[in-house]
């Protein structure tokens, strides 16, 4: 049949094991005795952008944090189920957290640069890993800043304090810091909520470029942003995954009434 538009996006049930970046199985998380994630099953596609959407408090951040075991920072934390990344269950007792953290980068809502130079901010993770070779550090910093579309703006002042950068630049610096470790997965929790609309579009474009290198999961409150940037989208409510599908379908013809009500702004 004649096709005017090429759709390269697979529907979620067509995604094979090899195309899966994060495979979450029967995940339950309790925080301080409260059930925050209730039996989540989701296969996050590899080298794609997946958006997590849902009302405040529905568990998006908690789900994101469970992909790199950040929830464990909370002492009163209980979790069951499995999260598979590259044929390994990251909740398996034998897994080392440090390995995981280099494999998975994270960017938060508010840019949180360290009070050091731009250069040191970017190679922070590498230094922690024990890298001391100056050439290697230089190369990594340059590559990361280029990938984060920040290089041109800061190449002449790498050793200035990161604190003088604008909000949008700082956020790209945070992305560069995550990218310096060449993560396979990049988690972004409301990465643009503190930025103006134009800078937001630049970051979105950057995110879109990054999927060549890694699997991205983005939490956003901005429905329009979720629609714009994501290939796949998951709608959560009260700790449950209500609907997960490719964004084209989810934003034009959601399968569940609850999703439709939420994305059309009809939620009570």
């Amino acid at each position: 049949m004649l096709k005017l538009f090429e759709r390269e996006i697979l529907s979620v049930d067509e995604i094979s094991k090899a195309q899966t970046g994060i495979d979450v199985r029967d995940l339950c998380v309790h925080l301080n005795g409260k059930l925050v994630l209730n039996n989540i099953n989701i296969r996050i596609p590899k080298n794609k952008i997946t958006a997590l959407i849902g009302q405040s408090g529905c568990g998006k951040t908690t789900l994101l944090n469970s992909f790199n075991r950040m929830n464990e920072l909370n002492r009163n934390h209980q979790c069951s189920g499995e999260v598979w990344i590259n044929d390994r269950d990251i909740y398996n007792r034998k897994e080392r957290i440090s390995r995981l953290r280099t494999q998975i980068g994270m960017v938060f809502q508010r840019p949180n640069p360290f009070p050091m130079s731009i250069y040191e901010n970017v190679c922070f993770g590498l230094r922690i890993q024990g890298e001391t070779n100056r050439r290697k550090l230089d190369d990594s910093v340059e590559r990361a800043l280029k990938n984060a579309a920040l290089w041109e703006e800061v190449r002449d002042r790498l050793f200035d304090s990161a604190m003088i950068l604008s909000g949008g630049q700082q956020q790209r610096l945070m992305i560069a810091r995550a990218l310096a470790l060449e993560p396979e997965i990049l988690l972004l929790d409301e990465p643009t909520s503190a930025l103006d609309p134009l800078t937001t579009l630049y970051i979105e474009e950057l995110i879109n470029e990054l999927k060549k290198q890694c699997t991205l999961v983005v939490v956003t409150h901005n429905m329009q942003q979720a629609a714009r940037v994501s290939d796949y989208a998951a709608f959560m409510h009260n700790g449950e995954l209500i609907e997960f599908s490719d964004s084209d379908s989810l934003f034009t013809m959601p399968a569940k009434q609850q999703t439709e009500d939420y994305i059309t702004g009809r939620y009570g």
Partner: protein, 239 residues
């Protein structure tokens, strides 16, 4: 006077959005190309009295329907995903309406083709010649219209728009000739009804092309072509 804006498709921060709009615009042109071929084939079938070629035109019409559905779906998807505004939104609405008009043009063409398949081509040289005349004018207007759309050329759109006047004139003439033929042979009225429908179909194709020209104007000025402020602009462009 209305303000002219040049729509810049390739200037969004999102490269993918640029691509999507380009593809969308391209898709109606592809659809237009298929329609144009359908019309030309129909005219050849009419002229050569070749029912098998006309049959192929009829079969191909479903292709056009499928294309329309695809364009509509893509418009909907882009609106949902990109939240387009201003010129982008006008482009998408224009593409969607154009696809609808193209689909209808396809139906009109199929109607003429059916006349050939059913072997109901009129014996009257006058009517037959008139049909070919109006059909050829349709092809010319259609090409000019698609060209104006592709280049988003307001002046070209207005010029193409004006070609409809000639089509209407020829239409009236052929209609009168047909009426005269019917009076001569009232017994063949059923035969002639199909001919009348086909002539009417030709006239409609001109109207639909006219619509598309108006969309091009709407796209460039954000105004209806028949509004008073646009009339002055049109006059000035034609000078």
């Amino acid at each position: 006077m209305a303000m002219r804006r040049q729509l810049q498709l390739n200037t969004h921060i999102s490269a993918k959005f640029n691509q999507e709009l380009e593809n969308l615009k391209h898709s109606v042109l592809t659809m237009g190309g298929v329609i144009e071929q359908q019309l030309v084939n129909t005219l050849v079938a009419l002229q050569e009295k070749a029912p098998s070629l006309a049959e192929r035109v009829s079969l191909n019409d479903s292709k056009v329907d499928v294309m329309e559905t695809q364009v509509e779906q893509e418009c909907m998807r882009i609106i949902a995903k990109r939240n387009p505004t201003a010129g982008d939104l006008r482009l998408i609405m224009t593409v969607s309406k154009t696809a609808t008009d193209l689909e209808r043009i396809g139906d009109e063409i199929a109607r003429v083709a059916r006349l050939v398949t059913l072997n109901k081509i009129p014996d009257s040289e006058l009517v037959f010649g008139g049909m070919l005349d109006i059909g050829n004018r349709n092809v010319a207007m259609m090409r000019a219209t698609f060209d104006a759309f592709a280049r988003q050329d307001d002046k070209a759109a207005i010029l193409a728009h004006q070609q409809d006047k000639d089509i209407d004139r020829v239409y009236k003439k052929v209609l009168e000739q047909t009426a005269a033929e019917i009076q001569l042979n009232p017994g063949d009225i059923n035969q002639w009804m199909d001919v009348l429908w086909a002539i009417r179909a030709f006239e409609r194709i001109g109207d639909r092309c006219k619509n598309i020209c108006e969309y091009v104007i709407y796209l460039t000025y954000g105004r209806d072509m028949n509004s008073s402020s646009m009339k002055k602009t049109v006059k000035k462009l034609l000078k």
